[in-house]
């Protein structure tokens, strides 16, 4: 029981991660793939943020009378990672738009068929 | 003082052909100047190589290191008797062959003549590099470059046949050298930490038992240019090349580079003493014997003259391998001598084949009825070459066979003796019919139209008479080559 409840944050991370990863692999729609990719990345953000938490630690802002803080570094790291994720999403979506213009579809199978038939 | 000079000469021997290549590019548009330059430089090379002779006959060994590729692994050139012998042969035949090429290429109006001469010169430079290589790495580099520089020569015609032949040629030569030869070299390096050629061999005491046999086979088959069966198929394939290429490269430079490398590896890498204790040498001996006999039998069935000569070359090359692996001091001498003797004889034969082709466009033996009377000089030279191949006096071929037999008796190698006798008969069986056809059959009996033609161009006739007389001269004055070969006996 402790295995499940004590590590509930990790379980959540794993569930979200797998949901996202599965979406990327299984969906043929290019936009859905990117949605899946986003979910996948979010799970990693959660992983980082939750490991930054120190038990009974306060918000990491220096204050009198508080000597146990949470670790601020993972948050900072993940800020960067979020920025990277946004950029990836933007670029991915831009590519999808261009693909739609070039092929008239965003379904992987259709695109594949069109390239094959050439 | 002398050694300094010879160092420079060694470098010069390799640079001269390269210089020729560069000059040929520059005078591309003027065929006469180009051909004159080729001859002048080839004569200069001959002079260079011959001027190295005195020092080596005195027993000096000169060595020059250019640069170090990997720590402990330099590019080194060393002058030693065997290499000197090989270099002499190649340098001596180059001017003759150039003369012949000029006659042949013009006579047949071949295209891309400039490219032909360039590649030829580069190939010669690589051959010099092989002859003078001071360690296995240097040898290997020149060996590979020789393969590559002869590829455009083999595929000179540029048609579908040439393309296919080129694939076989490169395929076999590169795959054996990269797959086996390189592996053997790396293995040797791993075992000994050196790749230098040393008189007593570098592997002594470093390897034994079955591993030694494996390594030996890696070398013997890795050196695909020696055309030991079943790695021989590239040689008949290479016959699509113009005849001067077949003559100098595929009867002398390339194939001799193969057997030369084998002799070098046996003497300077393994060392004779070590091989005498191993079964491996016997195995190679049997394979060489098998190659001699079966190549001769195949040669019997060939009607195309150049293909018959090619199979004869395969069998003659294995003589050298056989002689070395008898492992007697005298048989080593025989191996060295045979490199020389076969070179002169085979070049003559190929020159004759090319001469017939230029004059009459005939390629098959069955078309040669009575050709001796139309082309007396050519066929006289051919006859001398053939006698030398069979090994009868008064030709050079007799000398090498004589020493080979002596070596075999010395070592009590009955198998080798039997092979030599049997193959001599076979040699006679496939050469005498040609001579008979040429001199004693009546013209006009063969199918096809009667072509009226005379002797080939003068340059060709002069070239083949030169090599034919060299074959005879070598029998009467074998001093220098014998002296060089005898120097090998001490190892």
């Amino acid at each position: 029981m402790d295995m499940i409840l004590g590590h509930y944050n990790y379980w959540m991370v794993i569930i979200i991660m797998m949901a996202g990863f599965y979406t990327v692999i299984s969906r043929g729609n290019l936009v859905k793939k990117i949605v899946g990719l986003n979910i996948f990345q979010v799970s990693v953000f959660l992983l980082y943020i939750s490991i930054g938490n120190v038990k009974d630690g306060a918000t990491p802002i220096i204050e009198k009378g508080v000597d146990l803080y949470s670790n601020p570094l993972p948050h900072v790291l993940i800020l960067t990672a979020i920025v990277v994720g946004v950029a990836t999403t933007a670029l991915g979506l831009a590519l999808v738009v261009r693909i739609k213009e070039a092929y008239g579809t965003i379904e992987e199978d259709d695109i594949h068929n069109q390239d094959q038939s050439l | 003082m002398i050694s300094l000079a010879s160092e420079k000469l060694i470098i010069l021997a390799m640079l001269l052909p390269l210089l020729a290549a560069v000059l040929i590019v520059l005078v591309d548009k003027k065929p006469n100047l180009r051909d004159a330059l080729s001859i002048i430089i080839s004569l200069a090379l001959l002079a260079t190589v011959l001027s190295l002779l005195p020092s080596i006959l005195e027993g000096n060994q000169t060595s020059i290191t250019l640069l170090e590729i990997v720590p402990g692994l330099p590019i080194t050139f060393t002058l030693e008797p065997l290499g000197m012998l090989f270099a002499c042969v190649a340098a001596l035949l180059w001017p003759v062959n150039t003369l012949y090429s000029i006659g042949y290429m013009r006579g047949n109006k071949e295209k891309h003549q400039t490219r032909f001469y360039i590649c030829f010169a580069i190939a010669l430079s690589c051959t010099m590099g092989i002859a003078l290589a001071g360690n296995l790495l240097t040898l290997f580099i020149c060996y590979e470059l020789l393969t590559l520089s002869t590829y455009p020569l083999v595929t000179h015609k540029g048609n579908e046949d040439a393309k296919k032949a080129g694939r076989v040629y490169l395929g076999i030569l590169l795959s054996t050298s990269i797959g086996f030869f390189l592996l053997a070299i790396l293995w040797t390096w791993h075992l000994t930490g050196t790749l230098d050629f040393k008189a007593e061999g570098i592997l002594a005491g470093k390897i034994a038992g079955p591993e030694l046999i494996v390594l030996l086979f890696l070398y013997v088959y890795g050196i695909g240019k020696a055309a030991l069966m079943p790695m021989h198929r590239w040689l008949p394939a290479a016959m699509v090349a113009p005849t001067p290429v077949s003559a100098l490269l595929h009867a002398v430079a390339v194939v001799k580079a193969g057997v030369f490398s084998i002799v070098k590896v046996v003497i300077y890498v393994f060392g004779l003493d070590m091989l005498r204790l191993s079964d491996g040498a016997d195995w190679v001996l049997w394979i060489a014997g098998f190659t001699i006999i079966s190549a001769s039998i195949i040669a019997l069935k060939q009607d195309n003259l150049k293909r018959r000569l090619a199979y004869s070359t395969i069998s003659q090359l294995s003589y050298v391998t056989l002689a070395v692996f008898i492992l007697a001091p005298l048989s080593i001498v025989a191996a060295a001598l045979h490199i020389v003797a076969h070179a002169f004889g085979k070049v003559t034969l190929f020159f004759a084949a090319g001469s017939i082709y230029t004059a009459s466009h005939k390629t098959n033996i069955s078309q040669l009825n009575g050709i001796g009377y139309r082309m007396p000089w050519t066929m006289a030279a051919f006859t001398i070459g053939a006698i030398s191949m069979i090994g009868l006096p008064p030709t050079a071929g007799f000398l090498s066979k004589w020493y080979m037999l002596q070596g075999a008796f010395q070592q009590e190698q009955v198998f080798a003796v039997l092979i030599i006798i049997a193959s001599t008969l076979l040699n006679a069986a496939y050469f005498i019919p040609i001579i008979y056809t040429a001199w004693f059959k009546k013209e006009g009996q063969e199918s096809g139209e009667l072509v009226v033609h005379g002797e080939a161009p003068k340059a060709i006739v002069f070239a083949l008479m030169t090599t034919a007389s060299l074959t005879l001269l070598l029998f009467f004055f074998p001093d220098v080559p014998l002296q060089l070969a005898m120097l090998l006996r001490c190892y």
């Binding site: 990345q41 990836t88 261009r98 092929y103 | 590559l148 990269i178 592996l183 790396l186 791993h190």
Partner: protein, 496 residues
């Protein structure tokens, strides 16, 4: 004073150049600025290598924050060598790019193209320079994102799908990597590679460390296109603009291999790897990759795709050195990393020149061009020989060390695979050579006789690389010397 900051300048210079280039008017100016920047960066990288080649280690603290809290740039011979390759290839690709880009990319995108190129250079150099594992991730994404954009600029519409495919796989790889990093951080509380290397050994038994290691390895195996995670690479190389293919083929996967080396030998250690099945797995995948991908290359009809498959096979060679897990193996990997950049750079440049003249990269369209474009043809021959590993070329040195490393461990299977791989390389290289060398037949005959030699601006960079292939086949002081130096620092505990 400024000298202390040069290592940082190496990364910052192209980073600053990128926005500047982006706002410049289209035309030659963006190209000129990028070229200038890439040359200065190359100069800096050469200077840096000279400084560390003696065994020095440059440590630079970003913003003056002391490691392991602040970001540290820690440059030893390995970093410097990789930085030199990346900047060197960039410095050669950019002069080459001028004509090729004009032909392949619409004019209004030129400034943006060069800006993306600068960003990609920044990212790759950053990966090479940094000593901080999270910073590495950031640079990885900078280089990846810009390379997705660059690839999508290819002329054919397949370039878009190729870029998309790469984006998905690349992001998954990067995310895997970052998961691994997160787990490492959770266990050790540090992101500094040198610091990690010190703290990890006592935790080797821990399962989380194994998980982290697995994530990091898989993540980077995706990035460096280790068989069978290579599917993005052939498409990306085939459809990207020529210049991008040259640059990425010669640098991107190399940098990823370097990271792999750093991870396997410095951050973790080979003793750790041996306790996992990773080393055997690497060897197995490399063997399959080398043989399988070389066979694939033989059957390709498109020259760029042929070389792309050959790249996947060559990555197998590099990873072999890591999988063998010896000093000699790591040396071989570094040497091959350098040499392969030279040969693939030269080959792709030559193919690019053909594409520039013919307008297609299909092999059948090259028929008989050897006569029309002799210099380009010669470049392909020499580059190809180097790829095969013929002595006298850089490729031979790589093969030499790889085989030696395998013989040292008595691993004859690997020896055989390396040599068979070379023979397969003979076949696919000769496929290109034959097409060019023999006379054109059929309809190509008329078409191709009008073709002229490539412009000088393309020939010069191409031949610099070709001559480098020959030079490093004879003089190995820089490659092998530096690699040996680097390996001593990569693998702690190795004595001279």
């Amino acid at each position: 004073m400024i000298e202390n900051h040069l290592s940082l300048l190496l990364v910052v210079l192209p980073l600053l150049a990128a926005p500047i280039v982006a706002v410049l008017p289209n035309g030659r100016l963006p190209w000129a600025v990028s070229t200038l920047v890439s040359w200065s960066v190359f100069y800096l990288a050469a200077w840096q290598l000279m400084n560390v080649n003696t065994g020095n280690v440059i440590s630079y603290e970003l913003g003056g924050w002391a490691p392991p809290w602040g970001i540290e740039y820690r440059i030893d011979a390995a970093n410097a060598l990789v930085a030199l390759i990346v900047s060197g290839i960039a410095a050669l690709t950019l002069p080459y790019a001028l004509k090729s880009v004009i032909k392949e990319i619409p004019q209004q995108q030129h400034a943006l193209f060069y800006a993306a190129f600068m960003l990609c250079l920044t990212g790759l150099l950053g990966i090479a320079q940094t000593g901080d594992i999270f910073n590495l991730f950031v640079f990885l994404e900078i280089s990846s994102l810009s390379s997705y954009a660059l690839i999508s600029l290819g002329k054919k519409r397949q370039a878009l799908t190729a870029a998309y495919q790469y984006l998905i796989m690349g992001t998954i790889g990067a995310t895997f990597f970052i998961i691994g990093v997160g787990l490492l951080y959770a266990m050790t509380g540090t992101l500094n590679m040198a610091d990690l290397a010190q703290r990890l050994p006592e935790l080797y038994e821990h399962r989380t460390i194994h998980t982290a290691f697995a994530f990091i390895m898989v993540g980077f195996a995706l990035k460096l296109a280790l068989f069978p995670l290579h599917v993005w690479l052939p498409n990306a190389y085939t459809y990207a603009p020529t210049v991008v293919t040259i640059f990425l083929a010669a640098t991107a996967t190399k940098v990823a291999v370097y990271v792999m080396l750093r991870m396997v030998f410095t951050v973790f250690s080979f003793t750790f790897i041996e306790s996992t099945p990773a080393d055997e797995l690497f060897l197995l995948l490399c063997v399959m990759g080398i043989l399988g991908m070389s066979f694939y290359a033989i059957y390709q009809k498109d020259s760029k795709r042929l070389l792309a498959y050959s790249s996947v096979a060559q990555i197998g060679y590099m990873m072999l050195g890591i999988g063998l897990g010896s000093v000699l193996g790591a040396t071989a990997t570094l040497v091959h990393l350098f040499n392969h950049a030279l040969m693939k750079g030269a080959l792709f440049m030559a193919i690019g020149a053909l594409v520039y003249r013919v307008g297609s990269s299909r092999l059948e369209h090259f028929s008989g061009l050897g006569k029309q474009m002799p210099w380009t043809f010669a470049a392909i021959v020499i580059g190809g020989l180097s790829l095969i590993g013929v002595p006298g070329t850089a490729g031979f040195i790589s093969k030499w060390y790889l085989v030696l490393a395998a013989i040292e461990q008595q691993n004859w299977l690997i020896v055989g695979v390396i040599l068979i791989g070379s023979l397969l390389a003979v076949i696919y290289v000769w496929k290109i050579v034959e097409v060019l060398y023999f006379k054109a037949t059929g309809e190509m005959e008329q078409h191709n006789t009008a073709v002229k030699e490539a412009p000088l601006m393309m020939l010069i960079p191409m031949w610099v690389l070709v001559l480098a292939n020959v030079y490093f086949g004879f003089n190995t002081e820089l490659t092998v010397g530096t690699a040996q130096q680097a390996v001593q620092l990569l693998i702690p505990g190795v004595n001279k």
